[in-house]
Amino acid sequence: MKYFLPPEAQRAVESIRRADLVVGIPSYNNAQTIGHVVRAAYAGLNKYFPQLSGVVINSDGGSKDNTREAVLSTHVDDNHLLMLSTPMLPVNRLSFPYHGIPGKGSAFRMIFQMAKELNAKAVAVVDSDLRSITPEWIDLLLRPIALAGYDFVAPYYHRHKYDGTITNSIVYPTIRTLYGTRIRQPIGGEFGVSAPLIARYLERDDWETDVARFGIDIWMTTIAVAEGFRVCQSFLGAKLHDAKDPGSDLSAMLQQVVGSVFQLMQQYAGVWRGRKGSQPAELFGFRFDVGLDPIAVNLDRMTQVFKKGSAELGELWEMALQRQTLQELRAVSHAVCNEGKPLHFDDDLWARIVLDFACAVRKHPVAQGQLIRSLTPLYIGRVASFVQDTRDMVSDQVEQKIEELCLCFENLKPYLIRQWDGLPQLAGVSAGATNTQMAGESARMEVN
């Protein structure tokens, strides 16, 4: 379905006519922080791309705190940027409200459509609540596309070991296992995108699904890796941003992100079935260690949420999980609820839970929302287990632990494919066992 720009945005495009680079900033009530982001974007374009024309576009979701006014009135002083050369072309600044379903995806759609009509070579999108963004981020997100021929630049941050747990425990391992590319922050929020990939995004007709909300990040990453676009990562340092809305609904967010992963998994089944193992994506930027904000976790409350889920959601978990997975999950639950043991999900069990849910969502599309929302207590339980396991670990050790989880997911790919195809599982399935059995099967096939 073709997307039409709002009239004022269309007029602005007709007036500017052309821009080589675009920096898009989606926003909703971010008047406090967006000025800093606009300054960084503006400075980044002027300092690192003085020979190219650029536009900073704010796509706003109807803010009531004068976010748009903050964008347009932000003062940018070039004198302190220590420019290497004088910019040849001015950087324009635009701010428009987008139309359609409220959410980041709808905001991106307007930015991409404007970029396409401006014939932009590359687009960078950055969140409007960033406190740690610097002009270098714009360079790191745009240069691989503008000068090195990449189509998609994903961010790579240093994050606290308990930060980004949806990424660490579900999205990163799943995307890596399915599509064979190691993108460490597939739902990072900051991306660089090339003109051909933008054209591909715009021609798709699933903009008005969960993609319009939290699903946009994973949607963009998945299309890039699944459709064979050139993908890389840029090291941006630490990501510091405003705390999320305390009232935000975790299960709704989980549904949108994980639902998008599972939905795209169905669309790209023909792609991921044939991919084996995984390869690291090229990483640009100078890596350095940074101090991170501490994150407090409440293990008792997380365990309580898991216990409650175990007591009440058996009916749904029974629908979603394979018999062996369910038995092991019940054993975990029994150990926690009846024997008072600390909550512990091993990697293999967690990987099978996620993969079983992916297959169940395909099998029961009508109950998709219920199934994914019923994953919430399991996910919180897994996070609690992860927090306990990594309590005394430093950043590198935690990263190693995540790597082990990813390998577990990768080893279970034959298990996933068998379940996807509706075939019975081989006896004694686990990540290790699956590998051994598959090796045995391959050997038999070779003999035959």
Binding site: H160, Y162, D163, T165, I166, A243, K244, D245, P246, G247, S248, D249, L250, S251, I295, A296, V297, N298, R301, M302, V305, K308, G309, E312, L313, E315, L316, M319, K363, H364, P365, V366, A367, G369, Q370, R373, S374, T376, P377, I380, V383
Partner: protein
């Protein structure tokens, strides 16, 4: 005396002969029709098994959750449902056709009743099935929501939602077949009204202090303007 006895016996034999000549052919015809219907029903069931197997109705039933609702193992096959429905439909049709051979007031009434009632019964069955499906679906959504929101007794809340939806379906189905319409409607009004009244009283009597405390806390927290940090903000 003997002559009278002969007349009586003759009368009995005549009546017997009359009954035999009147009803036995009808009975034989009815039996033939019913047997024929049974044979056709068996054949139809066999044929449908062969034809429907290739269609994707099974997939639809599985994906929509209807299969899981009727058969928890999820192994319900549309082929069996369609074939059995056709089998029993033809069999009942055969029995009715067989009965119609007798052409009596009673059989005519039975057939008329059945013919008029059957579509309504079928629709009522569909309404109940839809109610069951909807009740299960919304009940499950409620269960997941209640668990994720940390509400007390999520399963009871979900069960209550299921019961209410099922009850509404029963009332609608009963109304459709004109069966005890007023009783069901009155029961429904009494139940819903009673539930609302009970809940209001319970809330007013039992939760008055809690509500007051909650409102006071809210007012204080607004005054402080320091919202409690979310447990999940880092997730």
């Amino acid at each position: 005396m003997i002559q009278t006895l002969e007349q009586v016996l003759q009368g009995v034999l005549d009546r017997l002969q009359h009954h035999i000549t009147t009803y036995v052919p009808s009975l034989v015809a009815a039996l033939i029709i019913m047997t024929g219907a049974w044979i056709v029903a068996v054949l139809a069931r066999w044929l449908i098994h062969r034809i429907v197997k290739g269609l994707s109705i099974d997939k639809f039933l599985r994906q929509s959750g209807v299969a899981y609702m009727i058969d928890r193992s999820g192994r319900l096959r549309a082929t069996n449902v369609v074939a059995e429905t056709a089998y029993w439909g033809i069999l009942v049709g055969g029995v009715l056709a067989g009965l119609s051979v007798f052409n009596t007031d009673l059989t005519t009434q039975i057939i008329q009743g059945f013919v008029f009632l059957l579509p309504k019964l079928f629709m009522a069955g569909l309404i109940l099935l839809a109610g069951m499906w909807l009740g299960q679906f919304i009940g499950r959504s409620t269960l997941v929501w209640a668990v994720n929101e940390g509400l007390p007794s999520p399963r009871r809340i979900a069960a209550a939602v299921r019961v209410i939806i099922m009850f509404v379906a029963v009332v609608v189905a009963a109304d459709h077949i004109n069966f005890a319409r007023n009783i069901f409607l009155a029961a429904f009004i009494i139940l819903v009204g009673g539930a609302v009244l009970g809940a209001s009283l319970a809330f007013g009597v039992g939760a008055g202090n809690s509500v007051r405390r909650y409102l006071d806390d809210r007012r204080e927290s607004h005054d402080d303007k320091t919202p409690e940090p979310s447990l999940w903000s880092h997730l």
